[in-house]
Amino acid sequence: MPTAPAIETHELRKVFGENTAVKGLTLLVQQGEVFGFLGPNGAGKTTSIKMLLGLITPTSGSAALLGAPIGDRSVLARVGFLPEHFRFQDWLTAAEFLELHGQLYGMQPGDLRTRINELLERVGLSDFRGKQLRTFSKGMLQRIGLAQALLNRPLLVCLDEPTSGLDPVGRRLVRDIIHELRAQGTCVFLNSHLLSEIEVTCDRVAFIRHGEVVRLLELASLDSGQTTVTIRARGLTTETISGLARWGKTAAMETESLTLNISAETNLPEITRYLVAQGADVFAISPQRTSLEEIFIETVGKDGGL
């Protein structure tokens, strides 16, 4: 069913005793999308993922994965999951661990063997296939966990903090794998605090606060929106500076440096040509994009939604 959304939730709610973990989550994630699920600690992100995967029963509301209502376990054959703070069966070797999980996915032995070799290679653990997981470092466990989530060639992968515990090389690996998954048309549902990671991997993000979506954002729009530019140049005359007003407002001025708020990044070449024509010596023109971090703080508040 290529038309069914990867994830669809409607007013999904979970109450633990007196504590409302998820207030009412309504979300639509399409297949093939890389979707970031952002929010402060305690915003209900992990609880939401657990409800989607049938680990936690929702108090009310409804949800569907790949068109199947949650609770339909057969759909899980096409879903991969890497939990947060997981621990695996550490008495198993890397290959045995993947074999066990592949068997539980219902994979055929021949296919499973090929897939195990492929994935061990992909996450860089081929040399450790016969080593027990108890000897693995945190980063190696994260890698084998990721391999586990991809065994069944899923249509939807839920990754809960996949880069925690990883060094820069490992983080790069996760990023590359996510790009590959996107190219294959796999939907990736990513929950991470590393906003720089989200920024380079996700198509869309949802900001969650108190278990509700407070903002949805297309990350591509971050590139084309209003931008602040810092211009470092010598020989800027007052006329030159006032001439810049046609592209935007000057926000700050120091010797040899001025900050300008412009409406679109596409104006940058024109501004450069103008400055050169006015006889200024331009050293640098650097656009300062509004980072996801700024949007995050602005959206969920400095208190982190506590």
Binding site: L55, L76, F81, P83, R87, F88, Q89, W91, L104, Q148
Partner: protein
């Protein structure tokens, strides 16, 4: 069914890798050696006394009967110890299994596979039943074999008796597994041994009651057996295997006076299945 089998094998492999099997094996062998030595020296003493004293034929026959009694009593004492070890093994094996995996999050990648949650319970149960079976076979088999090699004696209804003791170990393991689906490992251990203690005391009250013809005491014992029918299985097993004379003479610590009826065995079986069903039900509805 296939998933149950996969998880049973994983459970068995875990016990081997975590050296649970090895520890059980080494300590079990120590126990068997100790028992065999003790048995050997006691039997030597008895037969020496016999050759010193016995002259006429009648006397010799009586002593032969006494021999069998002694061998039976020692064998039952050995099996009693084995029963206790198996029960401890059963309780400990299962106590941490679900509680531990829920606590560590290991369970999360298992139950998010396209399998029923009940497969996890059945798989673990089967894996532990398999392990316990091997352990019990080694221990009880070792004791019976040791006595048979040394004296040629083997008790009546041996297989029925052993099957009942194995059923008792399975019952304790099932209770431990069920508790482990909602309580911590420590609480599970406390509950299981508490229940076992209750059954143990209940069993003794019932035996005293039977000897003293006190109907109320017997009733108290039966109620304890209904709450947890573990001790009752041991007493039926002991009744099956003890020598007729020991049964007729009345109380002995390793035999039995008040005999649990076959109905009680049926009750224990149903009880086990109900507890297993309860474990599935609780685990199915639990937030993980």
């Amino acid at each position: 069914m296939k998933n149950t089998w996969i998880l049973a094998r994983a459970t068995f492999r875990e016990a081997i890798r975590r050296r649970i099997v090895l520890t059980g094996l080494v300590l079990g062998l120590c126990f068997l050696v100790l028992f065999s030595l003790g048995f050997h020296f006691i039997i030597m003493q008895i037969s020496q006394a016999e050759t010193n004293g016995a002259t006429d034929l009648a006397n010799r026959a009586i002593r032969r009967a006494a021999d069998t009694e002694g061998q039976n009593a020692l064998l039952m004492a050995g099996l009693y110890a084995v029963t206790f070890l198996c029960i401890a093994m059963a309780a400990l094996l299962a106590a941490d299994t679900l509680a531990g995996e829920i606590g560590s999050g290991t369970i999360q990648t298992i139950v998010t596979k396209p399998i029923r949650r009940s497969s996890v319970i059945f798989g673990k149960w089967l894996g532990f039943a398999w392990l316990l079976g091997l352990y019990f076979l080694l221990m009880a088999g070792g004791i019976v074999l040791s006595v048979w090699i040394q004296t040629g004696y083997s008790p009546d209804h041996l297989l029925t008796g052993l099957a009942l003791i194995y059923l008792e170990a399975l019952l304790i393991m099932t209770i431990s597994l069920a508790c482990s689906s909602s309580f911590s490992a420590l609480a599970t251990g406390g509950i299981v041994f508490g229940l076992y203690g209750l059954a143990f005391i209940g069993g003794w009250i019932e035996q005293f009651g039977a000897v003293l013809n006190n109907a109320t005491a017997v009733k108290v014992g039966i109620i304890a057996s209904l709450i947890i029918p573990s001790e009752t299985l041991w007493r039926r097993a002991a009744y099956e295997m003890q020598s007729p004379l020991a049964g007729a003479l009345g109380m002995s610590p390793f035999g039995t006076t008040s005999v649990p009826s076959p109905l009680m065995i049926g009750y224990a079986l149903v009880y086990l299945l109900m507890v297993l069903g309860l474990a599935v039900r609780v685990f199915n509805h639990r937030d993980l």
